[in-house]
């Protein structure tokens, strides 16, 4: 077995040192009959055989690289610079642990500090943590945090919130029978949530752009929250949008949760991704997750440590702000590296390209008979209404070797009003040829 370090002779010698006759003597506490079960599993294999098995499985998938591709809805295909994947595979990043020994983890700690800074900057917030599992779990933790801060229990969830975020919040709140009000589905993006805020409302969770692509100014909602003593939690599923649009922080958000996958992290069938979590400085001690802070060492040199850990489970146990331990360190690193390569100019331009291409496609699609673009204002994804059920249109496009979008029915099963709605996403990876193929194919199937 190529991964095991001991030889037969070593094992023998070690057993002698320990003073036992055989390996099973070390397992003497295992109940009789439970040791050494027969397992119906194949024996060990070499690299070549394993590679063959995975290649066969990979072949059964349609790779977005090979076809015109327009899916988003919470996970986005962007180009990742070659340097990102090279750097995150460096041994020192890939095979290190959580930086609990800061003297020999300054690499990890410094990039977490840089990550926190970048996340604060792009969300327009004061502070950010060192990552969560993903955007949806960030949203759920934000609701708990708002409950702690406001000492209230109710959460109001926008009808434009990604259903996975809505459901993840609901699952966690259900555990303690906390009330949450999910507003009706808001395709057009004109809901008025302020009527749902009362003196028991801890927070309002709203997504911008919404799951249907609608961009909104949240300033008045933020004011309505503030007037009633509730917090505004803004969710962002497409983080590159903040290269171009006004950040939630500038609209008055109290907590921003986001999916950071678009920057540096591959699609990977939905995970692992990286949850971003940013807030106001005054709430920092109520934050979930790890935080990296600046300090000095014994010689007065700047260094970094994990800090404020009295909020965390390993110190505070049942009184912790969250149970999170392992987060998304390496994905946060990928994010930080990609963001560093982009810089101000790169991120701005990337967002302009995404938006510009989306506008181009929206214009082409709106020429099609029976097709309408739903959102007035959008970034790089938008819902369209079709003259027939979107799910069957998507299947017909698959036959034409096009991955044309996400039918809203996939995310909102059973909602008749959304049956004909398709979510379409465009990024810098889409060529003009891709767009023309989609338009031509839709013309044929509709």
């Amino acid at each position: 077995m190529r991964y095991l370090g001991l030889t037969e002779a070593d094992r023998h010698e070690m057993l002698e040192t320990i003073g036992v006759p055989g390996i099973d003597a070390l397992f003497k506490d295992v109940p009789a009959g439970a040791l050494n079960p027969r397992l119906d599993l194949p024996p060990h294999q070499g690299e070549l055989e394993v590679e063959r098995a995975f290649a066969a499985m990979a072949k059964k998938n349609v790779s977005p690289m090979d076809v015109p591709f327009f899916l988003g809805a919470g996970a986005y295909r962007h180009h990742i610079p070659a340097a990102v994947d090279h750097l995150i595979q460096r041994s020192e990043f890939l095979t290190s642990y959580t930086p609990y020994q800061p003297e020999i983890s300054q690499g990890t700690l410094q990039y977490l500090f840089e990550f926190q800074t970048q996340v604060s900057m792009i969300t327009g917030m004061e502070v950010a943590n060192a990552s969560m599992y993903d955007g949806a779990t960030s949203a759920a933790e934000a609701v708990l945090m708002a409950q702690r801060i406001t000492k209230r229990s109710k959460a109001v969830l926008s009808g434009g919130l990604h259903p996975h975020y809505r459901d993840t919040v609901a699952t966690l709140m259900d555990q303690t029978d906390q009330p949450h009000v999910a507003a009706p589905v808001d395709l057009a993006g004109n809901e008025d949530l302020s009527t749902l805020i009362d003196d028991q409302t801890a927070c309002v969770v709203v997504q911008n752009p919404s799951v249907f692509g609608q961009l909104r100014d949240l300033t008045s909602l933020a004011r309505a929250c503030q007037a009633k003593g509730a917090l505004l939690v803004v969710a962002v599923t497409e983080i590159t949008s903040l290269g171009l649009i006004t950040p939630p922080g500038a609209m008055g958000a109290d907590i921003v949760v986001a999916e950071g996958q678009s920057i540096g992290v591959p699609l990977s069938f939905g995970g692992p991704y990286v949850g971003l979590f940013a807030t106001r400085e005054k709430y920092v001690r109520q934050m979930p997750g790890r935080l990296c802070g600046e300090t000095v060492d014994q010689d007065g040199r700047r260094g970094f440590v994990l800090t404020l850990s009295a909020r965390e489970q390993h110190i505070r146990r049942e009184k912790a702000t969250s149970n999170i331990c392992t987060n998304s360190g390496l994905c946060a690193l990928a994010f930080t590296i990609h963001m560093s390569l982009l810089g101000e100019a790169g991120l701005t331009k990337l967002a302009e390209i995404n938006h510009g291409k989306a506008v181009q496609l929206a214009e082409k699609l709106s020429q099609l008979k029976g097709v309408a673009i739903v959102p007035q204002a959008f970034y790089n994804e938008f819902a369209i209404t079709l003259p027939q059920p979107a799910a069957s249109v998507v299947e017909k496009l698959v036959e034409k070797k096009i991955l044309g979008g996400v039918p809203a029915s996939r995310l909102f099963p059973g909602d008749k009003s959304l049956e004909n709605v398709l979510l379409v996403t465009v990024t810098e990876t889409n060529t003009e040829g891709d767009m023309d193929k989609l338009v031509a194919a839709l013309k044929e199937v509709l």
Binding site: P37, P43, T295
Partner: protein, 522 residues
């Protein structure tokens, strides 16, 4: 690149005072500024085409003003992160004996597989007919996990161990609710990981500690006294955090079940028994498995992890969505559960990238190799215990499982603490073991060598610890050495009090190169 009027290494003055070099560098140990202090406007590390010339449709929400991100070229970015990486200890560089964390070798084949076109780049919401291979990976991994644990079901979506605990308790809560039974208490030993009580609290339970016997295992009499009609579950780690197998585990399961409660097992230490003992044979109802421990997916400086949860017959209907099933047109994804499912735990379908790596690892080992993993990891830990018991103080009689627990009795009256001892190991080129955990022994040191190490490597480690233990006991000027350790690292002991008292959690413009006033920090 040293432009006038700005140091490329902030605090170079402080650094050079310490190192005696002009730059503050020490040979290959480079001082590295923050990325925000290196970059400047008008530069980028990417080359993007011009954006299409269209009228924007942003509804007047275009960003006003700058974000504040620095601009760097690609070589600058690469150099920055390479220099940062050189400040980290890692498994690839040396033994990493962190108890409870299973810092085993991370095979590079797994990395290669996770990046295959058609696996690493597929979208979670593609039509199911176009991702049959991806579903097959999930289905196959689920099969391995069920066979290895002897359990009938597995929930794949949890994103880490603690997330898995949450999943297990949610399943238990749903099962209790389904039978109209509301219970309020969770029992957990004092030696439990902090995640256990934190998870219980998230599910609205109060946590009641179970005492241990003098030999480091659950006290059955105390457990019986604590059990009652309001106990929802016991959360037990097995092998436990003292590195011991709970020999009465079947009795514990029977007692818990007799009280109408469920048995949750924290599977953090599954590496000790993988392929050797099936939790399903021990009466366990739910257990999370850290793929980033037992199945070698990289820890990545703190994630991502993955924490699938295996479930017994009594819990198997109470799973989160989504899950994969065999349908008439191949594999299908159930994204909206029936009434019994307790709901969704995160976006999409779980940590696919980790599934691929874990499955590649399992296939590489096979059933025979995995059993060997358990045996070698337990053998190595016992070898460490046997080789150090005369100079350090083991907390319990052997045999231990895959980690050996010591406490600080051997340092009594030396003036050297567990922390000092750990920091001295750093100067010797080792990452310390887990310290001050579990909380049930004083000044704990929990050593987990894993099966990845050769005997030579373990011997060298043992020799080092013996040497340090002898140095500590010899006292005299050695004590000052321990208290000053580490001295040979990129940074020496850091001021954690200062970091917490006035938290600086981000860089701000204008804080460039401002020397930190040490006096003000006192």
């Amino acid at each position: 690149m040293n432009r006038q009027g700005r140091t490329t290494t902030p605090h170079a003055a402080a650094n050079s005072a310490v190192t005696g070099t002009i730059t503050g560098n020490r040979g290959l140990q480079m001082e590295e500024a923050l990325i925000f202090e290196i970059g400047e406007d008008g530069r980028t590390g990417v080359d993007l085409p011009d954006a299409p010339n269209v009228k924007d449709r942003l509804g007047g929400l275009k960003r006003q003003g700058k974000i504040g991100l620095p601009g760097l070229s690609e070589p600058q970015v690469i150099r920055h992160f390479v220099r940062l990486s050189q400040k980290n200890y890692s498994i690839d560089a040396g033994l990493y004996p962190l108890g409870s964390c299973t810092m085993k070798h991370n095979p590079r084949l797994n990395e290669k597989m996770a990046r295959l076109p058609g696996l690493g780049d597929v979208h979670p919401l593609q039509p199911v007919s176009t991702v049959q291979g991806a579903l097959e990976v999930i289905d196959q991994l689920a099969g391995w996990l069920k066979t290895l644990t002897g359990m009938p079901a597995v929930a794949m979506s949890p994103a880490a161990g603690a997330h898995g605990e949450l999943c297990g308790l949610m399943a238990i809560r749903a099962a209790l609710k389904a039978r109209g039974d509301v219970r309020k208490r969770i029992l957990a030993p004092e030696s439990a990981h902090g995640t256990n009580p934190a998870t219980a609290a998230l599910c609205g339970y109060t946590v009641d500690p179970i005492p241990a016997t003098a030999d480091g295992r659950v006290d059955l009499d105390a457990l019986q006294a604590k059990l009652g009609p309001d106990v929802a579950a016991i959360m037990l780690t097995n092998p436990n955090t003292c590195g011991l197998f709970e020999r009465d585990i079947k009795k514990v399961a029977d007692m818990v079940h007799a009280a109408g409660a469920f048995f949750y097992c924290d599977g953090a230490n599954f590496n000790a028994i993988v392929g050797k003992v099936r939790p399903g044979d021990l009466g366990i109802d739910a257990m999370h498995i850290n793929l980033h421990k037992t199945f070698s997916t990289p820890h990545g400086g703190g994630g991502p992890g993955s924490g699938p949860v295996v479930l017994s017959d009594s819990l198997k209907d109470f799973v989160p969505v989504p899950y994969v099933v065999h349908g008439k047109n191949g594999l299908e994804l159930v994204e909206n559960g029936d009434a019994k499912s307790f709901g969704r735990m995160k976006s999409f379908h779980g940590q696919m990238g980790m599934f691929i790596r874990a499955l590649a690892y399992m296939m590489s080992h096979g059933a025979d190799g995995l059993k060997r993993v358990a045996e070698d990891s337990v053998l190595s830990a016992n070898y460490v215990l046997a080789s150090l018991k005369d100079v350090m103080s083991p907390s319990f009689e052997g045999p231990c499982m895959h980690e050996a627990l010591f406490d600080d009795r051997f340092l009594k009256d030396t003036g050297v603490t567990t922390l000092d001892f750990a920091k001295a190991m750093i100067d010797e080129g080792y990452h310390p073991m887990t310290v001050y955990f579990p909380l049930v022994v004083h000044g704990a040191m929990l050593i987990e060598p894993t099966e990845s190490e050769s005997k030579d490597s373990v011997d060298a480690f043992v020799t080092t610890l013996r040497g340090l233990a002898e140095k500590a006991k010899a006292g005299g000027e050695n004590v000052a050495m321990f208290q000053a350790a580490p001295q040979l690292t990129p940074r020496r002991r850091l001021d954690e009090t200062r970091a917490a008292r006035a938290p600086v959690l981000r860089w701000k413009p204008g804080s460039n190169g401002a020397p930190i006033d040490k006096a003000a920090a006192e």
